[in-house]
């Protein structure tokens, strides 16, 4: 028996390790805290890698800033024109926002909420060309948890896929595992933005009769549990109206240039799918809330942001409203992976 084991030691060892790997792949279920071994590997390799890749990034920055300035004058003029147009549009949007705010105040639905965020630096880009992830220098110690959304001033970056106390792995929008429920700002046509592992994304499950065009802006719909509503995802690059089928095909260019990403913000707020008791425990919104629950939620946010703490403390707990007839909660559509019937 021992002779047999010794003879087939290599094959048995390979089979055991391969089975472990297969189990690891098959048992993966969404974002989660990283285990001891991945944390150890990250702690050991990241500082070294940072030492090696930082000079390369700096060199690239020098090249981009100084050596590649050919055609800057023409681009400058073009940008000036765009800026003038954008300022005019901005003025119109401000007017629209003011009108909208007045309307919301009147109808009493406006949520006066500040979103606590943690700034973080990008310290590592994905080693493999097949997947699109980043590692940032803030982790569980800063209050970051798996599933939290990551943004920049340009738009959505992705979501936290795993954390260690001092670092977090961010799954980018362009990763093939990423799905974001989004809508077209101009026409409100809805669909799912899916990563392709390249530099762009697919905009899936958009009905053929919907009116979408190249250059349309896509925003997060707020459905599901990850992204708040209204964050910029990207712009429609191409639209393919197929001759048959329910849906049209579209390509989306993300709003964020991931190759030059240096700083990001993690939104320290994890949205929950409303359950049976959600209507009575929500601290803000339509339904009555228990004062204790509202205080606890405010304290959790306050722990992440001191300015918010002061405001939350000054804000009186909402009075319990008369009991309303609670409608049956409709199931929230999450990021669909299969086409709707």
């Amino acid at each position: 028996m021992s002779e047999l084991l010794r003879r087939f030691r290599f094959a048995l060892c390979y089979l055991a390790l391969a089975a472990l790997c297969a189990l690891g792949m098959a048992s993966r279920h969404g974002p989660a805290e990283l285990g001891f071994a991945p944390k150890l590997v990250l702690d050991l390799t990241l500082p070294l890698e940072r030492m090696v890749t930082l000079p390369i990034s700096e060199l690239r920055g020098v090249w981009d800033d100084y050596a590649a300035l050919v055609g800057v004058r023409v681009e400058n003029e073009r940008l000036r024109d765009r800026l003038a147009r954008a300022e005019e549009e901005n003025h119109q949007y401000r007017e629209a926002i003011l009108s909208s705010e007045r309307f919301q105040k009147l109808s009493g639905f406006r949520a006066q909420r500040e979103v606590p965020m943690v700034p973080a630096n990008v310290i590592h880009q994905d080693l493999s060309p097949w997947f699109q992830s980043l590692i940032i220098d803030q982790g569980a110690a800063a209050g970051i948890r798996p599933g939290m959304p990551v943004i920049t001033d340009s738009g959505v970056v992705g979501l936290i896929a795993g954390t260690t106390p001092g670092a977090s792995k961010v799954l980018l929008v362009v990763d093939p595992q990423s799905r974001i429920d989004a809508y077209v700002e101009r026409t409100r046509a809805r669909g799912t933005v899916r990563g392709t592992s390249g530099h762009d994304c697919d905009f899936d499950y958009v009905l053929r009769q919907e009116n979408i065009e190249e250059g349309d802006l896509l925003l997060t719909s707020g459905l599901g549990t990850t992204y708040p509503k209204g964050l910029v995802v990207g712009r429609v690059a191409t639209v393919d109206r197929k001759k048959s089928g329910l849906f049209l095909g579209a390509k989306v260019v993300p709003a964020v240039d991931f190759s030059r990403l240096e700083e990001v913000f993690v939104i320290l707020e994890q949205r929950q799918i409303p359950g049976e008791d959600a209507f009575s425990s929500a601290d803000e919104g339509l339904w009555p809330a228990a004062p204790g629950a509202a205080g606890a939620a405010a304290a959790a946010r306050a722990a992440a942001k001191p300015q918010v703490a002061a405001k939350a403390a000054a804000k009186p707990a909402p009075k319990p409203l008369p009991k309303l007839v609670k409608p049956a909660p409709a199931p929230l559509p999450d990021h669909p992976q299969d086409p709707p019937e």
Partner: protein, 178 residues
């Protein structure tokens, strides 16, 4: 022991080199240096230690990228085991056959990559067209890197090779040893 440490050092250096290549080169010509390392560990005499190192290198790559955990470990381990099988049939210790083998295996590795994804983690699967687009360039650059790397491995491991403590990439036939 020192040979094992040297091999670990080579693996770490290749991992860092791959990170630099990821920053500096276009995606269609990025070599897979960790795969080259795993293939080299399967050369004559690598044995179980070589296999474990190959799986370990793949695991580190898994941790440092956003893919399903275990995917690269499985691919690297398979690469090592395949080389061990084929090493007896092919003469892989000269630069040209070794580079050709690495190029061919890198191409096959793209197919294995797509198949493993569809089998174990279908939600992360990358389109075959995308794999085909990137495969030729990456295979060629991996093959180009393979020959000098083999030379480097041999230089660094020449002592261990001579005394047989870690006969990976052995330059002498095992028959010639006592």
């Amino acid at each position: 022991m020192s040979a094992l440490l040297r091999l670990l050092g080579i693996g770490l250096a290749l991992l860092l080199a791959q990170a630099v290549a990821r920053l500096a080169l276009p995606v269609v010509v990025q070599p897979d240096l960790v795969l080259v390392y795993a293939l080299a560990l399967g050369l004559r005499g690598g044995g179980v230690q070589g296999l474990v190192l190959a799986f370990g290198a793949g695991y580190v790559e898994d941790v440092l990228c956003g893919g399903p955990p275990g995917l690269f470990a499985l691919l690297c381990g398979t690469a090592c085991a395949t080389t061990r099988l084929l090493d007896r049939a092919l003469y892989l210790r000269a630069a040209a056959p070794w580079a050709s083998y690495v190029g061919a295996y890198a191409l096959a590795n793209f197919a294995l990559f797509g198949a493993a994804q569809r089998m174990f983690a279908p939600d992360t699967a990358i389109a075959w067209s995308e794999l085909l687009r990137r495969a030729p360039g990456a295979a060629i650059t991996s093959a180009l890197c393979a020959a000098p790397l083999l030379h480097l491995f041999r230089r660094l491991l020449v002592d261990a090779d001579r005394d047989g403590s870690w006969p990976v990439l052995a330059t002498q036939s095992p028959r010639g040893r006592p």
